[in-house]
Amino acid sequence: MAAATKNYNANQIILGPSDIWLDVAVPAASGRMTLESGTPETAANPNAIHLGMTAAGTTFEYVPEIQDFTSDELTAPHMSRIISESCTIKGEFLQVFNWALLEKMTVGGTKNVNTNTSTGYEELTMGGLSTVSTYSIALIGQDISGTNQFWCIQLYKTYNKAGFNFAVTRKDQSKAAFEFMGLAVTGRAVGDQIANFWHMGAANS
Protein backbone atom coordinates (compact mmCIF):
# COMPACT_ATOMS: atom_id res chain seq x y z
CA MET A 1 0.00 0.00 0.00
CA ALA A 2 1.31 3.50 -0.90
CA ALA A 3 0.72 6.78 0.85
CA ALA A 4 -1.03 9.58 -1.06
CA THR A 5 0.95 12.70 -1.98
CA LYS A 6 0.11 15.88 -0.07
CA ASN A 7 -0.69 18.94 -2.13
CA TYR A 8 1.30 21.79 -0.56
CA ASN A 9 2.13 24.15 -3.43
CA ALA A 10 2.94 27.82 -2.91
CA ASN A 11 2.42 28.50 -6.62
CA GLN A 12 -1.26 27.70 -6.29
CA ILE A 13 -1.94 30.68 -4.07
CA ILE A 14 -3.40 33.94 -5.36
CA LEU A 15 -1.88 37.08 -3.94
CA GLY A 16 -2.94 40.50 -5.18
CA PRO A 17 -3.10 43.13 -6.36
CA SER A 18 -5.34 42.69 -9.36
CA ASP A 19 -7.01 45.02 -11.83
CA ILE A 20 -10.57 45.31 -13.06
CA TRP A 21 -11.22 46.19 -16.69
CA LEU A 22 -14.63 47.21 -17.95
CA ASP A 23 -16.06 46.76 -21.43
CA VAL A 24 -13.61 44.11 -22.56
CA ALA A 25 -14.17 41.93 -25.63
CA VAL A 26 -15.97 38.63 -25.44
CA PRO A 27 -13.96 35.60 -26.60
CA ALA A 28 -15.30 33.09 -29.09
CA ALA A 29 -16.52 29.73 -27.89
CA SER A 30 -13.76 27.77 -26.16
CA GLY A 31 -11.56 30.91 -26.22
CA ARG A 32 -10.12 33.23 -23.61
CA MET A 33 -9.64 36.99 -23.76
CA THR A 34 -6.40 38.22 -25.31
CA LEU A 35 -3.95 39.63 -22.76
CA GLU A 36 -0.77 41.64 -23.19
CA SER A 37 1.49 42.04 -20.16
CA GLY A 38 -1.44 41.37 -17.86
CA THR A 39 -3.78 43.88 -19.49
CA PRO A 40 -6.41 43.52 -22.20
CA GLU A 41 -4.62 43.60 -25.57
CA THR A 42 -5.70 46.84 -27.20
CA ALA A 43 -6.47 45.65 -30.73
CA ALA A 44 -8.71 42.91 -29.39
CA ASN A 45 -10.18 45.06 -26.61
CA PRO A 46 -10.38 48.58 -28.08
CA ASN A 47 -12.95 49.88 -25.58
CA ALA A 48 -11.50 48.46 -22.37
CA ILE A 49 -11.51 50.88 -19.42
CA HIS A 50 -9.40 50.36 -16.31
CA LEU A 51 -11.39 50.74 -13.10
CA GLY A 52 -8.34 52.15 -11.36
CA MET A 53 -7.73 51.93 -7.65
CA THR A 54 -9.92 50.07 -5.19
CA ALA A 55 -10.13 50.65 -1.45
CA ALA A 56 -9.34 47.10 -0.38
CA GLY A 57 -9.10 44.85 -3.42
CA THR A 58 -11.80 42.82 -5.04
CA THR A 59 -13.96 39.84 -4.14
CA PHE A 60 -15.08 37.24 -6.65
CA GLU A 61 -17.99 35.07 -5.64
CA TYR A 62 -19.71 32.13 -7.28
CA VAL A 63 -22.70 30.79 -5.40
CA PRO A 64 -24.82 27.95 -6.74
CA GLU A 65 -28.29 27.50 -5.30
CA ILE A 66 -28.74 23.77 -4.96
CA GLN A 67 -32.03 22.00 -4.58
CA ASP A 68 -31.92 18.67 -2.75
CA PHE A 69 -34.61 16.15 -3.59
CA THR A 70 -35.80 13.83 -0.88
CA SER A 71 -38.19 10.95 -0.56
CA ASP A 72 -40.37 9.64 2.15
CA GLU A 73 -38.45 6.38 2.22
CA LEU A 74 -34.93 7.78 2.69
CA THR A 75 -33.48 9.91 5.46
CA ALA A 76 -31.10 11.81 3.22
CA PRO A 77 -31.56 13.52 -0.17
CA HIS A 78 -31.12 11.14 -3.09
CA MET A 79 -30.49 13.78 -5.75
CA SER A 80 -29.29 17.38 -6.00
CA ARG A 81 -29.49 19.88 -8.84
CA ILE A 82 -28.27 23.40 -9.45
CA ILE A 83 -31.34 25.63 -9.59
CA SER A 84 -29.59 28.95 -10.11
CA GLU A 85 -26.10 30.42 -10.04
CA SER A 86 -24.86 33.78 -8.85
CA CYS A 87 -21.52 35.10 -10.05
CA THR A 88 -20.31 38.47 -8.81
CA ILE A 89 -17.22 40.66 -8.60
CA LYS A 90 -17.41 43.31 -5.92
CA GLY A 91 -15.41 45.89 -4.02
CA GLU A 92 -15.13 49.66 -3.63
CA PHE A 93 -13.55 51.87 -6.25
CA LEU A 94 -11.80 55.11 -5.45
CA GLN A 95 -11.67 57.07 -8.69
CA VAL A 96 -15.19 58.45 -8.45
CA PHE A 97 -14.08 61.58 -10.29
CA ASN A 98 -13.82 59.83 -13.65
CA TRP A 99 -16.83 60.28 -15.91
CA ALA A 100 -16.03 57.43 -18.28
CA LEU A 101 -16.11 55.13 -15.27
CA LEU A 102 -19.21 56.72 -13.82
CA GLU A 103 -21.16 56.13 -17.00
CA LYS A 104 -20.32 52.44 -16.78
CA MET A 105 -20.93 52.19 -13.05
CA THR A 106 -24.32 53.89 -13.03
CA VAL A 107 -26.81 51.74 -14.85
CA GLY A 108 -29.05 54.69 -15.64
CA GLY A 109 -26.43 57.40 -16.19
CA THR A 110 -25.50 59.22 -19.38
CA LYS A 111 -22.17 60.99 -19.84
CA ASN A 112 -21.99 64.28 -21.68
CA VAL A 113 -18.79 66.05 -22.55
CA ASN A 114 -18.19 69.58 -23.82
CA THR A 115 -14.57 70.00 -24.85
CA ASN A 116 -14.66 73.78 -25.26
CA THR A 117 -11.54 75.07 -23.54
CA SER A 118 -13.33 77.88 -21.70
CA THR A 119 -16.86 76.57 -21.17
CA GLY A 120 -16.17 72.85 -21.27
CA TYR A 121 -17.47 70.31 -18.77
CA GLU A 122 -18.13 66.68 -18.11
CA GLU A 123 -21.43 65.60 -16.64
CA LEU A 124 -23.47 62.55 -15.81
CA THR A 125 -27.20 62.94 -16.10
CA MET A 126 -29.49 60.41 -14.43
CA GLY A 127 -33.16 59.57 -14.49
CA GLY A 128 -35.74 58.27 -16.92
CA LEU A 129 -33.97 55.31 -18.51
CA SER A 130 -35.44 51.87 -17.98
CA THR A 131 -33.12 49.61 -19.95
CA VAL A 132 -29.96 48.14 -18.44
CA SER A 133 -26.88 48.30 -20.64
CA THR A 134 -24.63 45.33 -20.08
CA TYR A 135 -21.00 44.71 -20.95
CA SER A 136 -18.17 42.32 -20.20
CA ILE A 137 -15.58 42.80 -17.44
CA ALA A 138 -12.36 41.09 -16.42
CA LEU A 139 -10.42 40.83 -13.18
CA ILE A 140 -6.75 40.21 -13.99
CA GLY A 141 -3.88 39.47 -11.63
CA GLN A 142 -0.36 38.15 -11.81
CA ASP A 143 0.49 34.54 -11.21
CA ILE A 144 2.35 34.31 -7.90
CA SER A 145 5.00 32.14 -9.51
CA GLY A 146 6.50 35.46 -10.60
CA THR A 147 6.78 34.68 -14.27
CA ASN A 148 5.11 36.77 -16.95
CA GLN A 149 1.90 34.84 -16.47
CA PHE A 150 -1.48 36.01 -15.34
CA TRP A 151 -4.86 34.75 -14.25
CA CYS A 152 -8.17 36.21 -15.33
CA ILE A 153 -11.80 36.07 -14.26
CA GLN A 154 -14.08 37.32 -16.98
CA LEU A 155 -17.82 37.92 -16.64
CA TYR A 156 -19.23 37.89 -20.15
CA LYS A 157 -22.30 39.99 -19.46
CA THR A 158 -22.72 42.13 -16.42
CA TYR A 159 -23.88 45.37 -14.88
CA ASN A 160 -23.13 47.15 -11.62
CA LYS A 161 -26.06 46.34 -9.35
CA ALA A 162 -24.67 48.44 -6.49
CA GLY A 163 -25.63 51.72 -8.11
CA PHE A 164 -23.44 54.63 -7.21
CA ASN A 165 -23.02 56.23 -3.83
CA PHE A 166 -20.13 57.82 -2.02
CA ALA A 167 -19.55 59.87 1.08
CA VAL A 168 -17.62 63.13 1.07
CA THR A 169 -15.72 63.81 4.25
CA ARG A 170 -12.57 65.55 5.35
CA LYS A 171 -11.41 62.40 7.13
CA ASP A 172 -11.35 59.86 4.33
CA GLN A 173 -11.19 59.58 0.59
CA SER A 174 -14.45 59.03 -1.25
CA LYS A 175 -15.15 55.52 -2.43
CA ALA A 176 -18.09 53.86 -4.07
CA ALA A 177 -19.15 50.26 -3.73
CA PHE A 178 -19.59 48.16 -6.86
CA GLU A 179 -21.05 44.74 -7.42
CA PHE A 180 -20.96 43.34 -10.91
CA MET A 181 -23.63 40.72 -11.37
CA GLY A 182 -22.94 38.08 -14.00
CA LEU A 183 -25.81 37.40 -16.38
CA ALA A 184 -26.09 34.40 -18.68
CA VAL A 185 -25.33 34.88 -22.35
CA THR A 186 -27.98 32.55 -23.66
CA GLY A 187 -26.29 31.94 -27.01
CA ARG A 188 -23.07 30.54 -25.53
CA ALA A 189 -22.49 26.88 -24.78
CA VAL A 190 -23.97 25.45 -21.61
CA GLY A 191 -21.26 25.51 -18.95
CA ASP A 192 -19.70 28.68 -20.40
CA GLN A 193 -22.55 31.17 -20.28
CA ILE A 194 -21.61 33.42 -17.35
CA ALA A 195 -17.89 33.52 -16.65
CA ASN A 196 -14.45 32.05 -17.19
CA PHE A 197 -11.71 31.80 -14.55
CA TRP A 198 -8.46 30.82 -16.23
CA HIS A 199 -4.71 31.25 -16.04
CA MET A 200 -1.96 31.39 -18.62
CA GLY A 201 0.56 28.65 -19.02
CA ALA A 202 0.69 24.94 -18.44
CA ALA A 203 -1.59 23.21 -15.99
CA ASN A 204 -0.43 23.61 -12.42
CA SER A 205 -2.78 21.12 -10.82
Binding site: D23, V24, A25, V26, P27, A28, A29, S30, G31, M33, T34, E41, A43, A44, N45, P46, N47, T131, V132, S133, T134, Y135, S136, Y156, K157, V185, T186, G187, R188
Partner: protein
Amino acid sequence: MTAYEKAKSMNLPPLPWTHRALGEETYCRLATELGYFVAAAERRDYRPDLDPTPFLELVKSKEKK
Protein backbone atom coordinates in the same frame (compact mmCIF):
# COMPACT_ATOMS: atom_id res chain seq x y z
CA MET B 1 -16.18 22.88 -42.19
CA THR B 2 -13.03 23.45 -40.09
CA ALA B 3 -12.58 26.59 -37.98
CA TYR B 4 -10.02 27.81 -40.53
CA GLU B 5 -12.33 27.25 -43.49
CA LYS B 6 -15.11 29.03 -41.65
CA ALA B 7 -12.86 31.97 -40.79
CA LYS B 8 -11.69 32.24 -44.41
CA SER B 9 -15.18 31.90 -45.82
CA MET B 10 -16.40 34.68 -43.56
CA ASN B 11 -14.21 37.22 -45.38
CA LEU B 12 -13.14 38.61 -42.00
CA PRO B 13 -13.58 42.37 -41.71
CA PRO B 14 -10.77 44.68 -40.56
CA LEU B 15 -10.29 45.51 -36.89
CA PRO B 16 -11.69 46.65 -34.59
CA TRP B 17 -14.50 44.16 -34.20
CA THR B 18 -16.76 46.54 -32.35
CA HIS B 19 -20.46 46.93 -32.94
CA ARG B 20 -19.94 50.53 -33.97
CA ALA B 21 -17.29 49.65 -36.57
CA LEU B 22 -19.00 46.55 -37.96
CA GLY B 23 -22.61 47.64 -37.97
CA GLU B 24 -25.48 45.51 -36.68
CA GLU B 25 -25.70 43.11 -39.62
CA THR B 26 -22.00 42.20 -39.86
CA TYR B 27 -21.66 42.15 -36.08
CA CYS B 28 -24.50 39.67 -35.67
CA ARG B 29 -23.18 37.49 -38.49
CA LEU B 30 -19.68 37.34 -36.97
CA ALA B 31 -20.93 36.83 -33.41
CA THR B 32 -23.19 33.98 -34.40
CA GLU B 33 -21.20 32.18 -37.10
CA LEU B 34 -17.82 32.36 -35.34
CA GLY B 35 -19.32 31.10 -32.10
CA TYR B 36 -19.20 34.13 -29.78
CA PHE B 37 -22.91 34.06 -28.99
CA VAL B 38 -26.20 34.04 -30.82
CA ALA B 39 -26.71 37.75 -31.26
CA ALA B 40 -30.36 37.41 -32.24
CA ALA B 41 -31.05 35.82 -28.86
CA GLU B 42 -29.65 38.80 -26.97
CA ARG B 43 -31.06 42.26 -26.40
CA ARG B 44 -29.76 44.96 -28.72
CA ASP B 45 -28.03 46.72 -25.81
CA TYR B 46 -25.64 43.77 -25.35
CA ARG B 47 -23.15 44.21 -28.14
CA PRO B 48 -19.68 43.68 -26.60
CA ASP B 49 -16.54 43.87 -28.70
CA LEU B 50 -15.61 40.53 -30.25
CA ASP B 51 -12.08 39.25 -29.61
CA PRO B 52 -10.74 38.44 -33.11
CA THR B 53 -7.42 36.95 -32.05
CA PRO B 54 -7.98 33.21 -32.56
CA PHE B 55 -9.40 33.68 -36.04
CA LEU B 56 -6.77 36.13 -37.19
CA GLU B 57 -4.01 33.87 -35.89
CA LEU B 58 -5.60 30.86 -37.53
CA VAL B 59 -5.71 32.53 -40.92
CA LYS B 60 -2.20 33.97 -40.49
CA SER B 61 -0.67 30.65 -39.49
CA LYS B 62 -2.32 28.74 -42.34
CA GLU B 63 -1.30 31.30 -44.93
CA LYS B 64 2.33 31.20 -43.80
CA LYS B 65 2.53 27.50 -44.66
